[in-house]
């Protein structure tokens, strides 16, 4: 039985969210003997309860509370109320992620100095460097059991990977492998090895893929310093007259409101809910929302330049068998503006089952051009494009002017326009991805538009100067010393890499800082 804490106990650290950022921070603090109350909006499932069925699983895990997608991006047209595909459950989107664990590259911490000032972008260098984060990357890779680090072997390649690898070889790409994945290739950390089941996006029913749900949170609970409260939706962060935060108001599963007192509050609700909560916590002292003296809360929303290329061959592939993200090509991840854009992108294998392929291959399409593609399902291979998108001030989370949630609070409006650099990068990636599959005999290729965002980043960004962003190099808000941000919304730029490893590394680093500052009585 894990420890419980009193609502009036103002000595605890309250963490809002239990995903890669919040779940890791909670365990790290608990390991140091710091008392933590973790409030999670979703339910708590165990991994045996996950469902190998795309729509049923979506119904079980997805964050389905209404949001509005606006702007010129394709997702706003295809999925006007589902801008993001993320999870509402203990473990957060670390249940859904595919496991790719790549470090950001050095230049990606210095986008403004490397790419220069781009029109229509709001680039900024991170206040930390790769060198500063490297020790924490190493800790995160060990904690998560990332393959091809710490002597852990790579995963075996499935059919989808083999097609990608053959194409990569034909195009002359040199950096194609089964990747660095936080999926056990052999038993480790009390968790078993990958059974090549597929359904990585639906939660790993073996627990072979790292998730805070079973790899971090139970360890924190075992210390007696961590209490997780599922179905606890935080509505507001309270503060005192001096401007320090004092606790949070949350609704329990019956909609009943409680206030949990806190010494420190860490916000880790993903890049849509985190800024929404800060904005919804406005007060007479902070009329524009908490931690928002810069006006940057909610701005610089990034979601990676994405898209997919599926290809049909004249023989079977069975791409859905085995790990969903079974291979990575890194050759295009470099910064090389001779391609017509700055930054770079990764290719990563992807697959969808028939139900999601019908929904995502070409949303809205009908007729034989579309259905004959599905008829070739068994002969299909697929890859996903994940590239660096450019931060823009206009791309932002705002509070919707009319629509309210069940608690009467404004819902999130997620506005996004592609920067011309994003569009140029995506077109380049479509061309390369198509060439890759044609090189191994694809009979048809299908450039597929972006899915609802899984990599939501940047809306409470780190900055050296308080005027340029929301938090400092430790994720501590510039305005309020005992208010932290602990998720991907801290990212100053997105890089070309899947963000989870960096989120976890930042959380480990932040835990050290919080413990030090608490001990020094600075917060």
């Amino acid at each position: 039985m894990a420890k419980t804490f009193d609502l009036k106990d103002g000595s605890v650290v309250v963490i809002i969210g239990s995903g890669a950022g919040g779940g890791t921070l909670g365990n790290e603090l608990a390991q140091k003997g710091i008392n933590v109350v973790m409030l999670e909006a979703g339910r708590r499932y165990e991994y045996g309860e996950f469902i190998n069925d795309e729509w049923e699983s979506f119904d079980q895990l997805a964050w389905k509370d209404k949001r509005i997608a606006s702007g010129e991006w394709q997702v706003a047209k295809d999925f006007p109320n589902l801008p993001a595909w993320i999870v509402k459950a203990v473990g957060g989107t670390s249940i859904h992620w595919a496991g790719a664990s790549l470090r950001l590259q050095e230049h990606e911490f210095k986008t403004l100095s490397t790419y220069g000032k781009l029109d229509g972008a709001n680039l900024l260098d991170w206040p930390i460097t790769l060198a500063e984060l490297e020790p924490y990357y190493a800790k995160a890779e060990d904690k998560m059991g990332v393959t091809r680090t710490n002597g852990i072997p790579g995963l075996p390649g499935n059919n989808n990977f083999k097609v990608m690898k053959a194409g990569a070889d034909k195009l002359g790409y040199k950096e194609c492998s089964t990747g660095r994945m936080a999926i056990n290739s052999e038993p480790r950390d009390g968790r078993m090895a990958c059974q090549q089941t597929g359904f990585c996006f639906q939660g790993c029913k073996w627990g072979a893929k790292w998730s805070t749900l079973y790899a971090e949170i139970p360890k924190g609970e075992a210390t007696g310093h961590l209490e997780v409260r599922p179905q606890s939706m935080v509505l507001k962060i309270n503060h005192d007259a001096g401007g320090k935060v004092t606790g949070v108001v949350y609704a329990d599963k019956d909609g009943k409101l409680h206030e949990q007192k806190a010494r420190i509050v860490a916000v880790a609700g993903n890049s849509i809910e985190s800024p929404r909560l800060l904005l919804n916590s406005e007060s007479s002292k902070f009329p524009d929302g908490l931690a928002n003296s810069s006006g940057q809360v909610g701005r610089n929303y990034m979601r990676h330049t994405t898209g997919s290329v599926y290809a049909a061959f004249d023989k079977p592939v069975h791409m859905y068998r085995g790990t969903t993200m079974a291979g990575i090509i890194r050759d295009e991840a470099r910064n090389d503006s001779s391609r017509g854009f700055v930054g770079g992108y990764e290719f990563e294998t992807i697959s969808l089952g028939i139900p999601f392929m019908a929904a995502f291959l070409k949303p809205g399409a009908w007729g034989r051009s579309f259905t004959s593609a599905l008829d070739d399902y068994v002969n299909m291979a697929g890859l996903w494009i994940v590239g660096e998108d450019m931060a823009r001030e206009e791309n932002r989370i705002t509070l919707h002017e009319e629509e309210k949630d069940e608690y009467g609070l404004p819902i999130a409006d997620v506005f996004f326009d592609d920067h011309p650099n994003d569009t140029a990068m995506r077109n380049h990636a479509y061309k390369q991805g198509t060439a890759l599959y044609e090189a191994v005999g694809a009979v048809r290729t299908f450039p597929t538009p972006p899915y609802p965002s899984t990599h939501n980043l940047g809306t409470n960004r780190m900055s050296e100067k308080p005027g340029d962003g929301v938090v400092n190099k430790h994720g501590q808000s510039h305005d309020i010393k005992n208010l932290f941000v602990s998720d991907g919304s801290q990212f100053t730029s997105g890089g070309a890499e899947n963000p989870t490893l960096t989120i976890v590394s930042l959380a480990i680093r932040q835990a050290d800082y919080i413990a030090k500052e608490m001990a020094a009585k600075n917060i």
Partner: protein
């Protein structure tokens, strides 16, 4: 309520001949759409059976898969009959939508345009209407989320209970 029966429809040849013929494959009998050849029937409660028969044809024309029997399209559109039973405005949307489709198709209505191209040309005229979008949108889940159609596409579905694919062909590609 709509019921989908997989058993024999129990129609005599004479009843069959008496029933209103719709296209070559489906028969209207009372409040049901019946496929004598494939032994299934779909009983309608809110929508006219002729309307449902048209929806079935329309469903096939929107997402044509020659290897899928009409039964799956019938299952995919039955939700419209259920919804029409609870929502008068929706019932009107569908009935008027089909009437409009028939009017635009001319001679003999939509279902009697014998080539797919002819029917698709009519659908293209109504593509932007709420009626068309309701039918198309419903099919994305209604058709492709039927577990019975997955094997037709070669999709194997759930794999955890079989131990995943680690010993069942995750890397069995031979033609590369």
């Amino acid at each position: 309520m709509v019921t989908v029966n997989d058993g024999k429809p129990g129609l005599s040849r004479r009843e069959l001949l008496k029933g209103g013929g719709i296209g070559a494959l489906l028969v209207i009998s009372g409040s049901a759409v019946i496929s004598p050849e494939h032994a299934w029937g779909l009983e309608t409660s809110a929508l006219k059976p002729e309307t449902v028969a048209t929806l079935i044809q329309m469903a096939r024309d929107i997402y044509p898969h020659d290897q899928l029997a009409d039964k799956y399209y019938a299952i995919a559109v039955k939700a419209h009959d259920e919804k029409a039973g609870k929502d008068q405005a929706y019932k009107e949307l569908v009935e008027k939508g089909v009437a409009d489709l028939d009017a635009k198709a001319g001679g003999g209505g939509y279902i009697n345009q014998s080539w797919e191209d002819q029917r698709v040309a009519v659908l293209e005229q109504i593509e932007a209407t709420p009626f068309f979008q309701a039918v198309r949108g419903g099919l994305v889940v209604g058709l492709y989320n039927q577990k019975a159609v997955w094997p037709v596409f070669g999709y194997e579905g759930e794999s955890y209970s079989k131990g995943g694919y680690i010993d069942r062909g995750f890397d069995d590609i031979e033609w590369l």
